[in-house]
Amino acid sequence: MISVHLVLFLIFGAVCVAGAINLLAQSHPINSALSLVVVMGALAVEYLLLGAEFVAAVQVIVYAGAIMVLFVFVIMLLNAGTEERTKGGSYVAMIVGIPGMLAGSALVAWVLLTHSGTKSVVAGALPGSPAQVAPLLFHEFLLPFEVTSILVLVAIMGAVVLASHPNSDPKKEKT
């Protein structure tokens, strides 16, 4: 089963990377969004392999099922076409950003490969079923939980205020 685990990891990891690359390659935002959905789905499987089944489920339901739908919805609403290649733009992003990003990731990769030991995790190493996650979430992390709830409330109100015409019913734009 070990090999199966590794194989599954590699397969879905490849799917993840492919999705990410596609996200970059596609020039149409909706394709990017969908490829991100693919990435999320594959990540959910990775979570399952790690045993975090509840996380995986929430990943699918909340992330892929709600947030990304919101993205797609907005893309449809604005009917965003393929992005136009404006000249000028930011050369800094190319000159500084890309090398910086590459350098940073190279450093991180080097550290991971050399200093993080060779500890391995078996499939389902840490069973994160709702029954195990719930106590943690509602006892130890109760305060953050409530705070995030308030955050969400504020975010909803802010979204309504931002996205609504002064003379229109906010509900339609909120979704």
Partner: protein, 346 residues
């Protein structure tokens, strides 16, 4: 059992489940036409076969051989992908639905269920929530204002009602203390007060939740009275205006498959699953629960059709305000009360 047998059994189960499901879909369509016909004082399909029983097959063949034309201005990749997505997700969710007890076929002891995961319910919810993409993308990619409006409506409506749907199920989860559909069903076994079955709708007092679930399920499946995405009178056919032939059939299948899925969930969560009087020889003991389960599904679907034949359509803002201002608070209240009861009973 070894991995080989595991894979074999899985494949067999998948094939059977798909066959049964698609057949059910086809005959749900037939059933609907018949029942609505009777409600509207018509006969419905009668020509093909006895009582028009072969009508679904005829429709299928028609869909298959009809010209599959693609309008010029559509965004092709998604236009093609959308129905596939819709039908795939609709069919996938059947994978975790148990239809009966464990059975012993030959010397293989296996559940009547493709796979039993302990978060089955969550998986179902997730997959159905992904089903939105099919409709939304179809609406958008077909580059047609009717379709776009339909798609927007559909996605907004489905996201809104998902919340009420999920919250209405939480009460059941609290009662049964598990997310595995099988365990939920087992938690509803037995009777109380001598004869009343131990179903959540009775015992757990989840009839409010059941009502909410019913409403939300209609909305989720874009059925009357919430079928605004495909409101013929205003949007021609909504998101699948531009679709024809097999693609259209895929949306059709997806819709009815979703109906069956929600029916299964309703049966499993509220109506005690496949529990029922079991007697007779082993084979009968194996079959009877499936029968009881199918019966519940049939009743549920009948209500679906009945409602369709009866009720008019909502207005869109009515739909939204109904979902957000009525169902959602009701579901939350039900959740809180259930939780309190469970805590107080210890």
């Amino acid at each position: 059992m070894g991995i080989g047998t595991f894979i074999l059994v899985s494949v067999v189960k998948i094939a059977v489940a798909l066959f049964v499901l698609l057949t059910a879909v086809a005959y749900t369509v037939w059933l609907e036409r018949k029942v609505v016909g009777r409600i509207q004082n018509r006969w419905g399909p009668t020509r093909v076969g006895p009582f028009g029983l072969l009508q679904p097959a005829a429709d299928g063949i028609k869909f298959l051989f009809k010209e599959d034309l693609t309008p010029p201005h559509v965004y092709k990749p998604l236009y093609i992908a959308a129905p596939v997505i819709a039908v795939v997700f609709a069919l996938t969710s059947i994978a975790v639905i148990p239809v009966g007890n464990w059975v012993n076929v030959g010397h293989i002891y296996t559940p009547l269920q493709i796979t039993d995961v302990n978060i089955g319910l969550l998986i179902v919810l997730g997959i159905t929530s992904l089903g939105v993409y099919g409709i939304a993308l179809s609406g958008w990619s077909s580059n047609n204002k009717y379709s776009l409006l339909g798609g927007l409506r559909a996605s907004a409506q489905m996201i809104s009602y998902e919340i009420a749907l999920g919250l209405s199920l939480v009460g059941v989860l609290i009662l049964s203390g598990s997310m595995s559909l099988r365990e939920i069903v087992q938690a509803q076994s037995g009777h109380f007060l001598g004869f009343i079955p131990n179903w959540n709708i009775f015992r757990g007092g989840q009839f409010v939740a059941f009502f909410i679930y019913l409403m939300a399920a209609y909305a989720e499946t874009n059925r009357i009275p919430f079928d605004l995405p495909e409101a013929e009178t205003e949007l021609v056919a909504g998101y699948h205006t531009e679709y024809s032939a097999m693609k259209f059939a895929m949306f059709f299948m997806a819709e009815y498959a979703n109906m069956i899925t929600v029916a299964c969930l309703a049966a499993l969560l509220f109506l005690g699953g496949w529990s029922g009087p079991v007697f007779g020889p082993d084979i009968l003991q194996a079959i009877l629960p499936v029968f009881w389960f199918a019966l519940r599904i049939f009743i549920f679907l009948f209500i679906y059709i009945w409602v369709r034949g009866t009720l008019p359509r909502f207005r869109y803002d009515q739909l939204m305000s109904f979902g957000w201002k009525f169902l959602l608070p009701l579901a939350i209240a039900n959740l809180v009360i259930t939780a309190l009861v469970v805590v107080l009973k210890g």
